[in-house]
């Protein structure tokens, strides 16, 4: 039955012979996807069943407790801490990552090796283990000494201070993440056409000027999307800082509350709800950032208004 209407419209769509007009728009009947729809309905039914079961039949979820703790002051404060740790460690990781990537690509073999060894260590060991080490920092290193091996040091200043576990957590996460950011930045830098570096060099720009002014700005387009992923990943990795041990972030806090009320499930759900909220916001942010940098790709919207300045003629005389 659909085919009858189809031929009628196809007949209408013929181009008028010799006419200077545009051809009429094609109005074909869209393809049908019956199996796709059936599959969607089955999935929806299963999901609805799961939700019904979770909300009305499965008492272990304790939805009343979920509601009670979702906006508990301790929980929202912990959520805030998670966010702060994420931002602080991510910002430091990006800065350090850029430095490491530039070192890795520099013509200086010493810089190259330092960067390589850094990446080898920090990417090659689990972040959880690294965090445990950072927690033990002041147990391992009790004083600051300067001297020769096997002799009494000239200077020996015992550490009379200790760094707050919050900062140890941030340092631990940042140093680990920097190794991943370094690879992302390196890929971005390598994506820039070699001719750019050559042109800048030929103009007499130094290697560091070339990097800062020419290469890195152009590599941003490649660097931004995976960095967005890293931020989202970092948000969730903060749940591991319990290894330091720091436990005032979202996961640690909800777990402690769960232990005190002997009811883990609703508080896990509370933590998940907050993580989902944050990742959703970050995903929206990433979407807009990517759009912005895709704009640079086509260059169409990047042109500044292409106008002749009124006084420019006079300038030239």
């Amino acid at each position: 039955m659909a085919s009858a209407g189809h031929t009628d419209r196809a007949a209408q769509a013929t181009v008028p012979p010799g006419g200077g007009d545009d051809a009429p728009l094609i109005r074909a009947i869209p393809l049908r996807h019956p199996w796709r729809n059936t599959f969607a309905v089955i999935v929806l039914l299963l999901f609805a069943g799961f939700l019904y079961d979770a909300f009305f039949l499965r008492t272990e979820y304790h939805w009343d407790q979920f509601g009670k703790y979702l906006f508990d002051a301790r929980v929202s404060q912990a959520a805030m801490n998670t966010l702060i740790i994420t931002v602080l460690s991510m910002v430091s990781a990006i800065v350090l990552g850029v430095i490491l990537a530039v070192m890795r690509l520099s013509p200086n073999p010493v810089f190259k090796s330092i960067s390589w060894v850094y990446l080898w260590v920090f990417r090659g060991t689990p972040v959880y283990v690294q965090l445990v080490f950072w927690g033990l920092l002041f147990t391992l290193y009790k004083s600051f000494r300067v001297g020769l091996p096997f002799q009494t040091p000239w200077v020996d200043i015992p550490f009379s201070f200790s760094i707050d576990v919050f900062w140890l957590a941030v340092i631990g996460l940042a140093l680990n993440e920097a190794s991943y950011m370094a690879e992302i930045v390196r890929a971005g830098i390598l994506s820039v056409d070699r001719g750019q570096e050559e042109a800048a060099t030929a103009l007499g720009m130094s290697w560091s000027q070339t990097m800062r002014r020419i290469v890195i700005p152009q590599s941003m387009r490649i660097i931004i999307p995976p960095t967005g992923n890293e931020v989202i990943s970092m948000l969730k990795t903060t749940s591991l800082v319990i290894a330091v041990p720091y436990s005032f972030e979202l996961y640690g806090r909800t777990r402690d509350i769960a232990v005190s009320i002997f009811d883990p499930i609703p508080l896990l759900l509370v933590a998940c709800a907050w993580y989902l909220l944050f990742t959703s916001i970050l995903m929206i942010g990433q979407h807009f950032l990517e759009k912005r940098f895709a704009r640079g790709l086509t260059m169409t919207d990047m042109t500044k208004p292409d106008v002749v300045e009124p006084q420019s003629k006079a300038d030239h005389e």
Binding site: D193, T201, A202, G204, P217, D306
Partner: protein, 267 residues
Amino acid sequence: MTQFTEQLPVQSEVAPDMVVAERVMKQFGSNTVLKNISLTVKRGEVMCLVGPSGSGKSTFLRLINHLEKLNAGRLLVDGEFVGYRERDGKLYEQKPRDAAVQRREIGMVFQRFNLFPHMTALENIIEAPIRVKNQPRKEAIARAKVLLERVGLAEKAKAYPGHLSGGQQQRVAIARALAMDPKLMLFDEPTSALDPELVGEVLDVMKALAKSGMTMIVVTHEMGFAREVADSLVFMDGGVVVETGDPREVLANPQHERTQAFLSKVL
């Protein structure tokens, strides 16, 4: 007293020749790209460098601009050694900073323009004068506008390279090189990446530049340009200079077999 003055191989008159190459050799690994290049480019001279693909033309330009290091022979630009310094009969490797200083006065134009895509035409031109020569921004902008006018693109100052045609991009690239006030301009096949109808506008700019007295070395397949503008033509093949002379004579009456074979393909 130690004598620090360099022993110039050319007669030390007031102004030495712009480029002097003596038995220049360049290898990439075991691949000897330039075998034995000797040539001289005088001040104000326009030299066209032609030759088949892979004959080492780009490599020779890159040597002059310190983008590669030569392996043997000597190369002087405006009386100064390229790649190393000679002092008391010993050779010292050159510092990158010294190379950059010498490079400032050598302009280079590439086959694929290599404009900075994240900067407008004007920003492309003022970048190096501001960063490298510490020229005040206002001054650099005023100068850039004059240069854009000279290459016929005054109204494109605020356009990004992605918005310009190939010919326009290449003209901006020439303006960018000129902004550093070079004493020598190197062109590496400046019109090879252009649609045929855009070649003329770039060649016109280069002709005007030649007329203004700029010393230029131009790698090109545009024999019309060579015939009209160049003072000398050098034909390179297999890493050696096969034939050199007045472009009109060489083109009309090539002496060497290889030159004849090459020209019959190009013309």
